[in-house]
Amino acid sequence: MPKPVIGGVPRGEDLFGREELIENLWERLERDNVLLVAPRRFGKTGIMYHLLDYPQEGFRPIFINVEHILTAGDFMVELMAILLRDHHFARAVSSLWQGTKGFGRFLQNLPSSIDLGGIKVELREKTDVPEKWISYGERVMSLLSKEEPRLLLLLDEFAVMIDSISKRDSEEAKRLLHWFRSARIAPDTGTRFVIGGSINLISTLDAMRLVDTVNDLSVERLQPFALETAAAYVKAIFASRDIDLDSELADSILELVGEPVPYFLAVLLMAILDRQRAIGSPISADTIKAAFEEDLLGGATSVVFQHYRSRIDQYYPGREAQVARAILGMLSRAGRPVQHDTLYHIFLQTYRKPPSPQANDEFIQLMKKLDNDFYIVSRDGAYDFFSRVLKLWWKTHYGFQGE
């Protein structure tokens, strides 16, 4: 039975409702490398861990969280160390130092007390991997390209690493990205890569004029749960606590949340369960409502939504931010999806432009951007907030501002 995991990584059966996605990923990985894209808290890391924990035949996954890495040399040390610690790949990677003294001998006589950390220390201090990282990278990727099972490299928080490296040395970041791309597209390589990226990765690389370094990746955008999946998740969570939840109450939970973003759903379910345990009586509609209003909309989680708000100022330059806020404010107040024309009118008003084909194109670009960034969704020529919860929050806090 699954348990909600707040903030951490759901493992095993706690990762719920992603079977189809994972099956698709494995299919894609037969041919392509994948860029997994979603806002924070959509479950990218959970999915990557699932690939790690339950590898498909023919693949041997290695997971690396690279958010702490500050140089390309550090990255290569991290990669080599983890490969050297893996029983299957160690032999191939060790061959780079075969017959050498120093590190070669170290690898031959590796005591059981030495784990990943000890290998990293040796690589940093006793080898030239940090300095000649490109050379080592090329050689190790070449060595592993024909391995069976195939190496599947799962890199989490890739965008953070690139950002950190580029702040210190933008040229090094470029070299790393180029090397990495060449490793991915090497002819006949069996190695595959899954990169976990936030929704800002593409725009970050675009700003660095390096978006072509990831144009080989097949993009997989994580979506919220399908409604049936969400319903099954709610049922399973309560069943794990031996609670037989009334179907009407279960429906009310889904209605409150709207678009079932897994994180919001998990937080709401935990809040309901916490309240139920505290008061000791069966779950009621009041319990659910209180959990929604106080714990999801109003509690610690409400800062999630503030992120959506502050992102506008950060990633939508100048007047575009003002227009975006005006459109979102309008959508938050609307009881139903708003027609394209109405929003276009707001666009023109805020920009103080007359209608024109060019203005229309700019409007469509903006709406696409808002869609890509998971603010809105388009259906049959009308637009609405992507998440009902976000919409409600937006309306409460910003819906009536004169934008």
Binding site: K3, V5, I6, G7, G8, V9, P10, R11, G12, D14, R40, R41, T45, D53, F63, N65, E67, H68, L70, S112, S113, I114, D115, L116, G117, G118, K120, V121, R124, E125, D156, E157, V160, S164, Y263, M270, D274, R277, A278, G299, A300, T301, S302, V303, V304, Q306, H307, S310, R311, T396, H397, Y398, F400, Q401
Partner: protein
């Protein structure tokens, strides 16, 4: 009676059995966390926790109990080793420092030679990367060989991440460790929300399951005192507790359900003969003063100025309002508020129309400031305290007053025959309200005039009873009549009648929230009791 010292400020020094004996109100949270630890298997999800609550709310108690239960349970002890990083560890400025300290504690706790060796190897090493790698290896090796994971308990995470460690790269490293190291679960505490966890650009954004520790309810506070008395076999106090309960309920509005203050109250009341609620509050304030004074000395002057000003203002002020009060630039005030918030002394709250206000979440700290300020403010608190004491008076106390009230009313309305019962005051008011206005007004005025011949305290108490009864009878005419009469004949000090006046104004204005919003929380609670009584929502509870 046996002695079982409870260390309010250092619960780690208290015998765990004693902490267990007085533990109230957090059982479900404790069970949930221990349940997760018990159910965990290698490769399963790990939940990291962040417990948030003001000082004295019981965060350290909770961690101490978790550690104790892990060590006491063979099943949990086989799976986990709790490691507690001391609350005031100022030497941690990098993740490598945290790891060194953790490995030291593990070595001390288990006596494992490999762990001790690892500590000796790294303790003077200034290469952070090497220290991190080698200590992590030591933990991994410990986990493999013993099959046990680590529950790392870190207090004051806000200070650790926002004042000591600070560098984002270090916090990214921490996050990586918490995600990847399968043997590690953290339970952290903080007096306040911290940017490191609430700001989306921060690495640890939403990384923890946040658990807000609420104040104890009145019932839980009473329960804690009972348990405390039982622990020391203090029969005298246990017997006294029922008598003390009404005053405890009154004090609750000023202490909040703060466990530390509750224990202090026990120490005071069980050891001294205290004659009333005012003395109890005074002594509690005395007791806490050195602690609060030290705290104020630690706070930089400009921030202390803000805190004091906030304590005196109605609760929930914007930076602009505060800037005006202290005659500083709003930008400067905002920056200072940010620092105060990071330290946990104030908290930002979103109110209606996206207005952000700042409050002092620790109620008694605010009361302490107010009591130090002026006689007028002290008077307001005292009168409020009396209001609550009167509200929660025992049945016997109310009966006594009611009899007097009834006697006065019989005299005033002459031809009414009224049965004398314990809730006679209500019955009396109902009968009176059926009379016409001129008679009613005259009758009330007569009653109150007569009260003036009684000793002052007694007269005021009877007047309060009448007012309460009028609210319970949902009769604003009588409320207005009594208020007018008491200010004419008893005391013109409006502060004495403030809760009733504000409640009347609120009800007359059709519940304009602005009237309540500009009050301190204690006054709002007093007004709410009257409004609830007016709405028939409150019952006269007999304890």
């Amino acid at each position: 009676m046996t002695s079982h010292p409870i260390h309010s400020y250092r619960p780690q020094r208290t015998a765990p059995e004693d902490l267990e004996a007085i533990f109230v109100g957090r059982e479900h949270l404790l069970e949930e966390m221990l349940g997760r630890l018990k159910d965990w298997t290698p490769g399963a999800s790990r939940q990291h926790y962040l417990i948030i609550g003001p000082r004295g709310i019981g965060k350290t108690n909770l961690l101490t109990l978790i550690a104790h239960r892990i060590e006491r349970s063979p099943e949990l002890n086989a799976k986990w080793v709790p490691l507690a990083i001391a609350e005031d560890t100022y030497g941690i400025t990098r993740i490598s420092d945290l790891l060194i300290e953790s490995v030291r504690i593990l070595g001390d706790k288990t006596g494992e030679s490999s762990i001790r060796k690892a500590y000796d190897r790294v303790r003077f090493d200034d290469n952070d990367a090497r220290v991190t790698d080698l200590t992590l290896d030591a933990f991994r090796h410990f986990h493999k060989s013993s099959g046990r994971g680590i529950v790392l308990m870190v207090e004051n995470l806000n200070r650790l991440l926002e004042r000591q460690i600070k560098q984002k790269a270090e916090i990214h490293l921490l996050r990586k460790i918490l995600i990847e190291e399968d043997w590690l679960i953290t339970i952290c505490t903080s007096p306040t929300y911290l940017n490191a966890v609430t700001q989306p650009e921060e690495p640890l954004f939403e990384f923890f399951k946040v658990q807000l520790l609420p104040e104890l309810t009145q019932r839980e506070q009473f329960e804690m005192l009972k348990k405390r008395a039982a622990l020391e076999e203090n029969i005298a106090f246990e017997n006294y507790l029922s008598e003390f309960r009404s005053r405890l309920r009154a004090l609750y509005h000023f202490t909040g359900g703060n466990p530390r203050l509750t224990l202090m109250l026990y120490d005071l009341v069980s050891k001294q003969d205290l004659s009333g609620v005012t003395m109890e509050l005074d002594l509690l304030l005395d007791q806490i003063t050195p602690f609060y004074q030290d705290r104020m000395k630690e706070i930089p002057e400009q921030q202390a100025k803000l805190l004091e000003a906030m304590a005196l203002m109605p609760e929930g002020c914007t930076p602009t309002e505060l800037a005006e009060q202290v005659r500083m630039a709003p930008n400067q005030v905002r920056a200072l508020l940010t620092r105060l918030a990071q330290a946990g002394y104030v908290r930002a709250e979103e109110r209606q129309l996206k207005k952000t206000v700042y409050i002092i979440p620790e109620r008694f700290f605010r009361i302490w400031h107010q009591m130090n300020h002026s006689r007028e403010v002290r008077g307001r608190i005292q009168y409020l305290l009396e209001f609550f004491a009167s509200w929660y008076a025992t049945r016997e106390e109310r009966d006594h007053i009611s009899e007097q009230t009834v006697a006065l009313l019989i005299k005033a309305f002459r031809d009414e025959a009224i049965g004398v019962r314990s809730s006679a005051a209500i019955t009396t008011v109902h009968i009176v309200s059926e009379r016409s206005m001129p008679d009613l007004a005259e009758g009330i005025d007569t009653v109150i005039k007569d009260l003036a011949h009684l000793p002052y305290d007694e007269a005021v108490e009877i007047a309060r009873t009448l007012l309460r009864s009028a609210f319970r009878a949902a009769n604003l005419n009588i409320v207005r009549g009594v208020l007018g009469a008491v200010t004419s004949h008893l005391s013109s000090e409006e502060i004495l009648w403030a809760p009733y006046m504000i409640a009347a104004e609120y009800l007359q204005s059709e519940r304009d929230p602005a009237i309540l919003n500009r009050q301190h929380p204690e006054m709002r609670e007093a007004v709410q009791l009257l409004v609830d009584a007016f709405d028939n929502h409150s019952a006269e509870t007999d304890e």
